[in-house]
Amino acid sequence: MLHSHLPFIRHPEHDTFLEENWLFEAVTDTYIPLIEVFDRLLGSGVDFRVTVSLSPTLISMLRDDLLASRYIKHLDKLITLADLEIERTKHDERINRLSRMYRDRFTRARHVFCDRYGKDLVGAFRKFQDMGKVEVITCCATHGYLPLMDLYRSAVNAQVKVAVDVYKDAFGSIPKGIWLPECGYHPGHDEILKKHGIRYFFVESHGVMFGSPRPRYGVHSPYLCKSGVAVFGRDIESSKAVWSAKEGYPGDYNYREYYRDIGFDLEYDYVKPYINGCGTRINTGIKYHKITGRSEHKDVYDRPAALETAASHAGNFMFNGEKQVEHLCGMMDTRAPVIVAPYDAELFGHWWFEGPEWLEFLLKKMHYDQDIIKTITPSEYLSMYDRFPVMTPAASSWGWKGYSEVWLDGSNDWIYRHLHKMSELMEKAARDHTDPSDLERRALNQMARELLLAQSSDWAFIMKTGTFTDYAVKRTREHIIRFLMLHDQLRSGRIDGEMLSVAEGKYNLFRNIDYRVYAEV
């Protein structure tokens, strides 16, 4: 299960904007490589199943013309930089080979993006879903962290409903499942999922293990909540193999080192024109070293050796999965144990360069080399049995420490009095305005967007982890302030049409949002 998400970042007011790079990097490093993996598997007749969640903000950005054209410009700059690199490194065969590898990569990405998929990567996922290989599910509208929003159920409901609407618009049907942001589950929220036709969701292992009554099959079966919605718990063993800082695959010394990027390593004047025009050093994606070891010393990246390692790690993962299943079979009555292995998609390719290839090796091995385990979608598993045990999962998340601390901590707790107040005001405004004028309706809808955008859990996460804090604080403040301004203007009857148009133009997601969702109970 691959969870793909980025917060909505779009700055038409600037020619280039640093944080828009996150999208471009994710597309180049992760989404396109994964799409290529799926296409290769399809092409060679390998049967596989992968579940992919695409957040509504990500879908919105992937379907935006401005961001698409900026992405192409970004790729063109990288291609030029790679050409320069090929020239610069021509006397060092090992590095030169890598420069060429990157040039090919970027050129291929451009081809996949523009030619093969006509700038519509969401369409690629739709294709894989239509062919029955990938189950695409949704995630909350702006990846809002639901447990800390529970004070206003209308806000929780809106995050889900808007998500379902975005999904319907992109895929033509209701999503079968949802990835709760950060696996943040609060008992009772499944009723809201039920209301919107969603059949399953995921929780962290202890969400199931601490569920009540005791889970008969541990995390190796889904359970039905009282609402009838199914819940799948994450399997720790398979997760550890990939995520663990000590033991996980991505830390292998043969894999590419993330922190030796030429954007930081080379002369500033040389890289400057090819990195974002804003003047700071950033990732280019061109990296020539492998992890090598724990010290600062890094050897030159050896691509064939890295791929061999990926293949061996895939074999290891599959072997462990087989052993795990053999161990479990004796305890499952006659049921087939399910192993739920969710990851942030961006791990594959971006942080762990060889991740997509590892996945490709794994899916091929599972198809060709054995009979014990196979990949399956949650919907397929649910249709295997008539009955499942009923259980109430425990409140939990997959964040650090297993609960809500990441998003509620000295660095970010200040936001909640504002987010809650905005929810309260939005609810009231939605109920009060039953017959708004055109301008009023636009203001109300934009207020809803501002609330949703302020609720992105990414901001609180970034404030806690401290990397791009200024931007996260700026965005949170911007949305709170604009919401309050619109609210005030609505009340006083003096709506600033120009300010409204600018906001609608910049935050052009959720085009058909209906503010009245906040009047729903």
Partner: protein, 196 residues
């Protein structure tokens, strides 16, 4: 009708308001053992309560955050006061180390009078701290005895249930604190690779 925010006029809000002119306290659960509370006390409510205190022949002594365990309580009389935190004037939020998973909590912000009587200024919502640990309930039809439960974690069932519980705790704590779980584009790449 009162304005929703404390600051100036409609079109010139340039900064996030310090408060909204409300009189309220909100309680949130951070994890099984910790709650978070934020509040705002309206001056007129505070003045009114102080007046009442004086009327009763008492004087206002301390500002308090009072936290109750209200699990299964049918009425006020049953609320168990667990903590009283004395507050300085400037405090408007607090982390409460309640230490009890799976309980229902409520908080009052109020004034303690000179004679030890507590006057509520605002009362919070009720919030439940997440449960922690294996559930005591099991389903008759889908029986899950304790040793089977731990076996599902691939734990050695030869141990006593106390030992298994301890192993599970350590296992989960090691997992929870590994931090490698949520990363997306911003996060924990440094956990796999070694930052320079």
């Amino acid at each position: 009708m009162e304005k929703p925010h404390a600051s100036a006029d409609h079109s010139t809000i340039r900064d996030i308001p310090h408060g909204y002119g409300d009189n309220r306290i909100v309680l949130m659960a951070r994890d099984p053992w910790t709650l978070f509370s934020y509040w705002e006390v309206a001056k007129k409510v505070e003045d009114e309560v102080k007046r009442k205190i004086n009327e009763n022949g008492e004087t206002p002594d301390k500002s308090l955050l009072r936290v109750y365990d209200v699990t299964g309580c049918a009425s006020d009389a049953e609320y168990e006061v667990l903590f009283d935190f004395e507050l300085r004037d400037w405090a408007n939020n607090w982390y409460i180390h309640a230490g009890r998973p799976g309980r229902e909590w409520m908080a009052d912000i109020g004034i303690l009078s000179s004679s030890g009587r507590f006057y509520t200024l605002a009362r919070s919502n009720v919030v439940k701290s997440p449960v922690y640990g294996m559930s005591g309930e099991y389903d008759e039809e889908w029986m899950c005895p304790e040793d089977l439960y731990y076996k599902m974690f691939a734990f050695d069932v030869g141990k006593s249930s106390m030992e298994m519980k301890e192993i599970l705790n350590r296992h989960l704590r090691g997992w929870f604190f590994s931090g490698g779980i949520s990363s997306g584009m911003f996060g924990s790449g440094e956990l796999f690779t070694h930052k320079r």
